[in-house]
């Protein structure tokens, strides 16, 4: 029985991504005629039609699995190979890749982990995955010319208040419920992973400077100031917000924050 190309591709897609493997996928497959898979795929002396599809099924999973291991090294380290493998198996069923670039294959992993049973043992794992994803997103965020100290110095200080600025596209702000930054840091530095991180509210700033992604915990005043700047605002409004968040030390705080943001290429001029 001849099938059109679309039907053939849909059958193969279902078999290759079948959650329990090609054999079980075949048992559930209704679009195959009495010839079964042999009616679609030719058999050979060394490999059956099912063996052949199985090669693609294996390649599908492991290609994405290997990419996600690279993208989420701390999540992998915390969970271990077996739990991470099982996590990704479930993730690909729930969130099969739709983007043309494999870079985005893991973009929903943190969302998936949030409700996964593994969070009972590792309640911070979704925040850790979210931080790792943010580093990737920051790494490939659009380019923009950062504001420099020289540019700021060239502007009349009286005009600073009305100077409009926004955060660089690579600056991402994450509110975590667990203190996951030290977990990631331990992994990067080859140290033993800390015991379960503290819970609470942890503002994390992610940025890309000189084409490398960085992250750190921030003070709330800085985090909220950057949240304001993300939408594009005036320097005067940032000063007002910091002033309201700090008690009597706002000038020093603002000067310190501004120096840091400029040094880290976190601000761009806003039209």
């Amino acid at each position: 029985m001849r099938r059109d190309l679309k039907t053939i591709q849909e059958i193969l897609y279902r078999l290759i991504t079948a959650p329990s493997g090609v054999a079980e996928g075949l048992a559930d497959e209704r679009a195959l005629g009495c010839d079964g898979l042999r009616g679609v795929i030719s058999e050979g002396a060394r490999l059956s039609a099912e063996d052949r599809v199985d090669i693609y099924a294996s390649a599908y999973f492991y290609r994405i699995f290997d990419v996600l291991k690279e993208d989420y090294p701390a999540t992998l380290k915390v969970l271990g190979e077996t739990d991470f493998h099982n996590l990704i198996t479930g993730y690909l069923i729930e969130y099969p890749p739709t983007h043309f670039s494999i870079t985005y294959a893991g973009q929903f992993l943190a969302r998936y982990v949030e409700t996964h049973p593994l969070t009972e043992r590792y309640p911070y794992i979704a925040d850790l995955a979210r931080l790792e994803r943010a580093l990737i997103d920051s790494f490939i965020a659009p380019d923009a010319e950062p504001l420099s100290s020289e540019t700021m110095r060239s502007i009349d200080p009286d005009a600073w208040g009305s100077l409009r600025m926004r955060t660089h596209p690579s600056v991402l702000l994450l509110q975590a419920s667990w203190d996951v930054a030290p977990v990631l840091r331990s992994l990067e530095e080859g140290r033993t992973l800390p015991d379960d991180p503290a819970s609470g509210r942890f503002p994390i700033v992610i940025r890309r400077t000189n084409n490398r992604s960085f992250y750190r915990n921030a003070e709330w005043a800085e985090f909220e100031a950057l949240s304001l700047a993300r939408q594009g605002t005036s320097f005067g409004e940032i000063c007002e917000l910091v002033d309201a968040k700090t008690s009597g030390e706002s000038a020093a705080t603002i000067a310190s924050l501004l120096a840091r943001w400029l040094a880290d290429a976190m601000l761009v001029a806003s039209d």
């Binding site: 591709q9 897609y13 052949r52 739709t98 043309f100 490939i140």
Partner: protein, 300 residues
């Protein structure tokens, strides 16, 4: 097909992240680099900066893995738009992708799956290639993939299918010698018959890579040195197609850059030797032929 659209670039290697720093700091002696297009179809960051710096010194070719020319889904306009933008910015010598499908129903398998070899599929894929070429305003090259299955509905050989698609779409062929070798083993055909039969005037580039031997089948893994049998097949292809831009692919277990450079040099040596031998043989044959015709003339 205008050959000037696919000039002979010499012998290159794939530009991979592991070698960014080495390439930028040492500017090694290399004819050209091939990039995986999708790795650079991003908004910003280091990969684009690196590519800009590499492009200052070297020609590049943009080789994609996600165009899904054989899919029954509509062509992905975001993909094509980003590819066109990449091409405008970095001016690759040409653009290539695979004769395959990578997904259906809006979902992506991130793999290169083969197609049934039928006239109907030839028309389907060729139409989509023409659409891509119109969008990109340039001719592209399509690559034969390694395959682990063939379809019961197929009515022609892979090489006839590849040639027919290239002819109907009026595009170039990127002939992956390792893929021919791998598929020949997996599908029980003669690799040399493939090379003998594929449309000669369409072949614009070669790929060479390593593969893994799994006993009952070969897997195109790009994680080993090029096997001796593939080198022999490459020499055979050079004898038929002549001087064709050649690229070494190595995507996993990536060795030091010097190993890739040595592999590209080996391809150059095989090419040079093969072309020289062929020229000598042709010259000898030509002399013999003219001697024969002279004799014939005298006899007349």
């Amino acid at each position: 097909m205008d050959a000037s659209e696919f000039p002979f670039l010499g012998f290159g290697v794939g530009l991979r992240r592991d070698h960014y720093l080495h390439v930028l700091e040492n500017r090694p002696d290399m004819d050209w680099f091939e990039i995986i297009s999708e790795n650079f179809m991003i908004d910003g960051g280091r990969p684009l900066e690196v590519l800009g710096a590499v492009r200052e010194t070297y020609p590049i070719v943009a080789h994609g893995v996600s165009m899904s020319l054989g899919s029954t889904d509509p062509l992905n306009r975001e993909h094509l738009g980003r590819l066109r933008e990449l091409a405008r910015r970095f001016k690759p010598a040409w653009i290539s992708d695979h004769l395959c499908w990578t997904g259906v129903g809006g979902r992506n398998l991130h793999d290169l799956l083969p197609l049934p070899y039928t006239e109907e599929v030839v028309r389907h894929v060729a139409g989509r290639i023409r659409e891509v070429q119109d969008f990109l305003e340039r001719r592209i090259a399509i690559e034969n993939v390694s395959s682990y299955m063939t379809f019961s509905d197929s009515r022609m050989t892979e090489w006839d299918f590849l040639s027919a698609v290239a002819s109907e779409a009026d595009c170039g062929i990127l002939l992956d010698i390792n893929n021919i070798f791998v598929s020949a083993f997996n599908q029980d055909f003669d690799a040399r018959a493939y090379i003998d039969a594929v449309a000669c005037d369409r072949v614009v580039q070669f790929h060479l890579a390593g593969h893994s031997d799994h006993g009952r089948y070969l897997l195109d893994t790009h994680d080993h040195p090029v096997r001796d049998e593939v080198w022999e097949l490459y020499a055979y292809a050079v004898r038929r197609f002549g001087s064709i831009s050649t690229l070494i692919e190595w995507d996993d277990n990536i060795p030091a850059f010097e190993v890739l450079a040595e592999t590209a040099d080996k391809a150059r040596c095989i090419h040079d030797e093969t072309v020289r031998t062929k020229a000598d043989r042709d010259a000898t044959r030509s002399e013999n032929d003219s001697g024969n015709s002279l004799s014939a003339h005298h006899r007349a």
